[in-house]
Symmetry: D2
Subunit: 146 residues, 4 copies
């Protein structure tokens, strides 16, 4: 029914990019984006990255198995700050791929200037008991090329 | 093991009050508390209010029945703004009590000055199918006096 | 430098619509969007609505005058819940226009089903002292038609 | 006027602890605390830690100088998840102290079980231009002992 397309990411030179607009909700009284909120931007990008690879996270939530990625480790380097109304690009690249885990390298960039970089280790788990599960071959194969 | 008490509310003249400290996470680039975040403060107060009446929300989540309050309607009047480091008092009073619902009147006050007032209609539901369920007699009786 | 377009809204039959994707950050342990977060969606839509009318909020923040809209009153009706991965449409319509204020009527819809409706009274103020200021004639004229 | 004390931290064996209650706002559809929100808990603890050492962050915001700590780097290890209604203890310890920076070691614990550990590098800056500024001798001296 709706013809209005929601924000998606795109591929440029084999790398995934997702654009994010900074709203009041993202900022704090220091006039800049609150430090925890870059992790929200990063997860939106990872979610759209996985969606583009053909996997829907909610499907996971609704099946009996309920599989999905959870974050095990995260390293964030804050180089410069984003401010209200900024348009940011959040990239995703697979740095390392294990049987049930992956290290995702992400950069948050404004007009070519790197503001924040993240390295995020995610583990594929059964969402019920949080036990690691092998990443499905089809998804792993797609991630390998990114 | 821990002897550290977490924040609770108190009763003053028959009315429930819950204190809230304003942190960076609550503020925005306008230098004030972001308008949606007062709803977080209000819910913390309602949660502690119900806890003090002897009901634990997570118990609801873990039983088969899974009962709890959800918000159906909310009216918020923003009179003045809270800022970083403020200590606020959030009150809860039952304005109206129905079989499966209640209207809660809440005020967010700083040093006696009313900043934000809310009127929140909550409905007691089965969290699985969101269908209204009669508020347990014991809880309803306790709410009546507030 | 960037060719990646960030999410904008569109006009359909004279009404403004802004699409919002629901991410994990928006949901809560009840499995639905947390009740305060619909106010974030509503503000994103209002911001893009005003941006489309040709006004940039940050310009306001950077000039000496520092003008912008703040919320004075808000009424929210929660009819049904959004869940993870939903694509929502958030509409904006000017219900009433005063010299320094406006009442904005907003609906949050999923596949044609109304989930949440809001009525938001915003006041145009000097962000420094929060005093009401007359909405610029050009902007007021544009808002009138919406 | 108010006699209601807001949540403070305490010292145990020379280490600072701040208690945090988990509310619906902190959780996500996975039924656990959203991964970015532990950074909020960590900052609340750091803020109360600095406040206990006798420094008020807002004073910084209001003076001409406007000094304060900003996060430069952050490493987070997610071992286990917190859930709704949990009472957490967030600790703060100075791991390293430089002229204008400090590395803070933080642990988020539930009933003696370590859930999340963080290492946060903060820099003392002029909030206007974000340039590093020497930590005041009095504050540095107090931090040294923690």
């Amino acid at each position: 029914m709706t013809e209005l397309a929601v924000q998606e990411g795109t591929w440029k030179n084999g790398k995934f990019y997702f654009p994010v607009r900074v709203y009041y909700e993202d900022t704090d009284a220091g006039g800049i984006v609150y430090y925890a909120n870059y992790l929200k931007f990063a997860e939106r990008a990872r979610t759209e990255f996985v969606r583009m690879l053909g996997v829907n996270q909610r499907n996971g939530l609704e099946t009996d198995e309920q599989l999905g990625f959870v974050v095990r480790h995260c390293e964030i380097d804050y180089k410069s700050s984003a401010v209200l109304d900024d348009v940011l690009e959040v990239s995703c690249a697979i740095k390392q791929l294990g049987g049930a885990s992956a290290v995702v390298s992400q950069e948050i960039v404004r007009n070519g200037q790197l503001l924040v970089s993240l390295e995020v280790k995610v583990v594929y788990v059964s969402l019920k008991n949080k036990r690691p599960v092998r990443i499905p071959a089809e998804l792993a194969k797609k991630m390998q090329g990114c």
